[in-house]
């Protein structure tokens, strides 16, 4: 092997990424043992790679913030445009009402209160007083003189919006979606109460609990609900790709096929392509795609801890806490079945599985189990120890505060 080849083909990077075939790998290693300059280059790339690996989370987080800024810029523009259109429609309605007083649908009295809670209000914009929380879409739309009440039933499996625009006949008002601030007037539930936009403003990259307030039997005060909301919020754990020929301890135990040089034979090896694609989707925050791929990976390798862990996390991130419990528990079952890992406490998945199980339990309102999981996570050593301890303390405080208020709680 010549030095030119190493430079031209970027062999150092391919070597460090485990992308060379065995013969090329041997040849490359012999060369760097003989050539000090090439060895230095490999050392440089190796050290750089190591540093990047350690900062991966930080770099990815920074890029997400940048992405988020870009996104919000356009959301702001769109919202501003909508407000202007809305004000124009109101003005138009007033002009028309002054001309034809007897033929229009008058604006309800509550329109005034609705207008007072518009974004132009002097009150500061917080999570609790966002305009979307108090705007009455129906009253807002009825200012348009051609809008009439829809006579179709507003209940049933596919209820109408209650409005009919421009006097259309035979067409369900359902198709006339009115979108304000990103929320529409569509009923997302079946025969249920019209869904509302969550009052909480979740930070970028976080997913709020699915229904912390409606499903938690132990929740008493609003403050408690907010604290549980915060405790149940899930931050996606980082995933760092570390090469297909990775051979660190825990990966070795997951994919023996990769280490023995016989890929594609063990169930884990069959699951790897799905897993890699899933993790690509996961890194891109396409959690639904990641879930689908992880489910396929889990079929091929039902005991793979990494597959089950990320499947549980993805379901949590999709606000499916109940579905996330089984795969996360499978991680712990497999870890406990591995006596060696248990004895040495070397499984990197156990702590994380306990931690995210706790999140799932918080989201479904099972605070006793959540506390038990957080306790387990806090006692294990790992990067989540401090966070688990902190959240455990907060959860215990919530439970202690709520106990006297709910003596009949199913989870004392």
């Amino acid at each position: 092997m010549q030095c030119q080849e190493l430079h031209r083909d970027e062999l150092a990077e391919k070597y460090l990424n485990g992308q060379l075939d065995p013969a090329a790998q041997d040849g490359f290693e012999v060369h760097i043992l003989e050539c000090v300059r090439c060895l230095r280059q490999v050392e440089a790339v190796q050290t750089l790679r190591q540093e990047l690996d350690e900062r991966a989370h930080q770099i990815r987080a920074y890029s997400q913030v940048e992405h988020s800024r870009f996104h919000w810029k356009w959301v702001t523009v769109a919202t501003f445009s909508l407000v202007i259109c809305g004000l124009g429609a109101i003005e138009l309605g007033r002009m028309k009402s002054s001309k034809s007083a007897g033929t229009h649908v008058s604006a309800p009295a509550s329109a005034a209160s609705s207008a007072s809670s518009s974004p132009s209000s002097s009150a500061p914009l917080t999570a609790d007083n966002r305009p979307v929380n108090s705007r009455n879409y129906i009253n807002f739309t009825l200012n348009e003189s051609r809008v009439t009440r829809d006579k179709a039933l507003s209940t049933g499996s596919s209820p109408g919006t209650g409005l009919n625009l421009k006097g259309q006949k035979g067409q369900r008002a359902r198709s006339n979606l009115v979108t304000v601030d990103g929320a529409d007037a569509t009923d997302n539930s079946v025969n249920g109460v019209r869904s509302s936009v969550s009052p909480a403003v979740a930070p970028s990259g976080e997913v709020p609990p699915a229904s912390a307030k409606s499903q938690t039997p132990e929740i008493g005060s609003d403050e408690t609900a907010k604290e549980l909301f915060r405790l149940g919020t899930v931050q996606p754990p980082p995933y760092t790709f570390s090469g297909f020929a990775s051979s660190s301890g825990h990966r070795a135990s997951l994919d023996p096929g990769a280490l023995s040089g016989k890929p594609g034979r063990s169930p884990n090896s069959q699951a790897r392509p799905f897993f890699r694609d899933a993790m690509d989707a996961y890194v891109d925050k396409r959690y639904a795609d990641a879930t689908d791929l992880l489910e396929q990976a889990a079929k091929a390798a039902p005991n793979a801890a990494d597959v089950n862990f990320y499947l549980g996390v993805c379901r949590l991130l999709q606000a499916k806490p109940t579905d996330s419990i089984a795969p996360l528990q499978a991680v712990l079952v497999n870890v406990n079945a591995n006596a060696e890992a248990k004895a040495n406490d070397t499984s990197p998945w156990a702590q994380a599985a306990h931690f995210y199980l706790a999140k799932a339990y918080i989201q479904i309102g099972d605070l006793a189990d959540a506390e038990a999981q957080l306790q387990s996570a806090a006692t294990l050593t790992g990067r989540l120890s401090a966070e688990a301890s902190s959240e455990l303390t907060r959860l215990q405080a919530v439970r202690a505060r709520e106990k006297p208020q709910s003596p009949g709680s199913p989870n004392p």
Binding site: D26, V30, V45, I59, S248
Partner: protein, 194 residues
């Protein structure tokens, strides 16, 4: 990475000739030759162990084991063609690392009676200094450069994939990555010379 001039064939044959002499001196029982072998190949063996295990602690242990095993083999005359010393060392390193990966035996039972090799504190300091250098350089890079390096060097994406993800042209990604890596490599080379 393309700025460094390629090593001339003459330099390589000189290195081979030096390796032949070194192997013969070790066979003859020259202890200073053993020190020389360790200092010459220690870093290379560590890089190989690190690349194959991706575990710094394991790589440090394995480097010792590999060098000890090689010294024992050279003392007992197991090297048939002394001109192929590098290939011999690479083969020994590969086998021991593969054994480690199979059995996860962190402490092999290879021992050298009285002069067991221990980690060189100077080498450790140099390693720390190299890491600090890379940290400083990384801080000076733009976030886009850091993302390019992360996606290509750590995540293993091709330049085309990186370009697509970051909404940059392929050429821009290639140039930025090449410039960043070259900058660090040059600093590394300068540090090694001083």
């Amino acid at each position: 990475m393309q700025e460094e001039p390629p090593v001339a064939a003459a330099t390589m044959s000189e290195a081979n000739a030096a390796a032949v002499v070194l192997a013969q001196r070790i066979l003859a029982g020259d202890r200073s030759a053993e020190d020389e072998l360790v200092s010459t190949y220690h870093r290379g063996v560590f890089v190989i162990a690190m690349a194959r295990t991706r575990d710094r602690d394991a790589a440090l242990d394995l480097t010792q084991e590999i060098l000890i095993a090689i010294l024992k083999a050279l003392r007992s005359g197991q090297l048939r063609e002394s001109a192929k010393l590098a290939a011999f060392i690479q083969g020994a390193a590969r086998n021991l690392i593969n054994n480690y990966l199979r059995t996860k035996a962190h402490h092999a039972e290879v021992e050298l009676d009285d002069e067991a090799y221990s980690a060189d504190p100077v080498e450790e300091l140099e390693s720390l200094e190299r890491r600090r250098l890379v940290q400083r350089e990384l801080e000076s890079f733009s976030i886009t450069d850091r993302q390019i390096l992360l996606l290509s060097l750590v995540d293993g994406h091709s330049l085309a994939e990186v370009a697509q993800r970051l909404n940059l042209s392929h050429e821009a990604v290639r140039a930025r990555k090449s410039r960043a890596v070259r900058k660090i490599t040059k600093k590394f080379a300068r540090m090694s010379q001083t």
